[in-house]
């Protein structure tokens, strides 16, 4: 029965121009295609979720999340050159579904859309995000995205006093010892946003003391190979100067709340 439905859907999709496909599927059909359809059919189903966003049914939201996980892990029939991951992530980011938190944390290092989507979900995302940025083995891009998500939550007023205190702790950690340039930049911005006197003093030292900044910013990539150390030191110092001065509001990543 399900096979017959899939075959009928595939035939119907083949006969409809791509632009019109998103209007021809019901949510139930989209769920079925996401689970069992071929990659082009899953694209069509994805359009339904993209259109509905958080208004999608719980079943469709879960189907999108699971399909995105499958794409992320690889091994689907989607041709790699399709760059389908970004389409799936777009759909997931628009769902505002707490079940997407683990996936969004997984892709924190792929762009500010993940940070924004986690902030859209709200404080429920906090534990997973704080865990990611506290992990010293986390990829620097992911830590950058996580610290950015925490900043968004802070700026949204979504955090409790206790959560803010934990954020202070991880920011302090990321401005101590030797850190990759990416987390340093995000920590600088979050430190200033927190308004914490001690953290601000650290940021001021980064801005005025190049040796201090050079000691903080790692000269190595995560794999141990050398990076352009001077570049990252300059980046950190410039970031510090801009945000200490109260500027930089239009520098990304910026908060872009999702639509209902």
């Amino acid at each position: 029965m399900r096979g017959a439905m899939m075959a009928a859907l595939a035939l119907a999709l083949a006969a409809v121009p791509a632009a019109a496909q998103e209007t021809t599927l019901t949510e139930r059909e989209a769920v079925a295609l996401l689970a069992e359809g071929a990659w082009r059919e899953r694209f069509a189903a994805l359009n339904v979720a993209l259109k509905l966003g958080p208004r999608a049914s719980p079943e469709l939201r879960l189907a999108v999340i699971e399909a995105a996980w499958a794409e992320l892990r690889g091994g689907t029939d989607t041709p790699p050159e399709a760059e389908a991951m970004f389409d799936y992530l777009d759909a997931v980011a628009g769902l505002r579904d707490p079940r997407a938190i683990p996936l969004l944390v997984e892709v924190l290092g792929n762009g500010s859309a993940a940070s924004n989507a986690l902030a859209d979900i709200g404080t429920e995302a906090f534990p997973a995000v704080i865990a990611a940025v506290s992990d010293p083995g986390e990829h620097p891009y992911d830590v950058f995205g996580g610290l950015t998500a925490l900043r968004f939550l802070l700026e949204d007023g979504a955090l409790t006093a206790g959560q803010v205190e934990r954020v202070r702790g991880v920011v302090g950690d990321r401005l101590t010892g030797v850190q990759d340039g990416f987390p340093v930049k995000a920590a600088i911005r979050l430190a200033v946003a927190l308004g914490d006197r001690e953290l601000r003093a650290t940021v001021e030292q980064i801005a005025v003391d190049r040796d201090f900044a050079a000691a903080l910013v790692s000269p190595l990539l995560p794999d141990g190979s050398p990076t352009d150390h001077a570049y990252w030191v300059d980046q950190a110092r410039e970031h510090a100067r801009i945000f200490l001065s109260g500027g930089g509001a239009d520098i990304g990543p910026v908060r872009r709340p999702g639509s209902d």
């Binding site: 760059e83 970004f86 792929n110 340039g181 990416f182 930049k185 050398p226 570049y231 239009d250």
Partner: protein, 313 residues
Amino acid sequence: MSGRRMARCLVAVALFAASACADVGSVGVAPEKPSSIPDADVDRRIPAVAGAPLPPGAVAGTARVVRRHALRLIGARVRDTEIVRGGEVLGSFGRPGGRIPVSASAVPPSSPGLPGAMPTPGLPAGTARDGDDEGCWYLVYYWMDNGEVFHVMLLSCGGGSGSENEPECTEDQKAIAAEYGDEAEWPCHKFDDTPASGGGGSHNHETGYLDPAYTSGRSSVLAHVRANGVAGAHVNSDWRCPEGNRQENGRPRSRHVRGLAGDFDATGFDAVVHGKFVATAVAAGARWYSKYGTGLDAGDNQMYTGHIHIDWW
């Protein structure tokens, strides 16, 4: 062409401020106009127009830019730094000695107060399309305070439709619009930009659509990485038409199709270079980007070791 009609062809103001690119504008590039644009024709500061939409990162009231070159460029395309028609290079920009041939008599009079003529990049609202003129084209430049040309487009000011609201489209533009199948969101006159991808994803169309968020971000990214030791930075592929994207196995409404994504490359692309692209991309408002070395292609080779995909909101 009458002076009135010329004036009505006045189009496009891009508004930028160094502060809008604070993270990427302070890259050590001395502020200067592109050397190829004649001084006499440019650098007329135009006040911001109330209510006009601004490109991402732009700040109202700090306008810079805009150049209109009235050229007969029917059938011409912007290819990299050159304006070409058939096999003939009509002009070039963005490099020392490059110069667009401009007839002084063809430059339209300035009319900064022209209502509705100063909107956003892309096809501006209020663009004059009236009449029976011979079909001139304007080559419109947008550049930032660091001198980076971030957007060039050909804009028709003729076509004989007799209506300001119904711009005449080329057959190619009409063909692109047919691929989208959505006249409301994707009218034919929207496709007047020059994508990076000449074939393949653009399906050999002559023009395409690049969203202002993308062109602004692209400019920031390229200017920043070039100023920070990255050689040969360029865009491999950006806009793709629906059919071209389908042939590339992409989703019909992917961000490439919407003119919001680009695949960036550079000489000696590696993790260090990738990091510089990402640093600028996030500062310039990127939505998603590929991590270095992620994904496998059909031959089980890592996909993102030779370029970075970046897309914008």
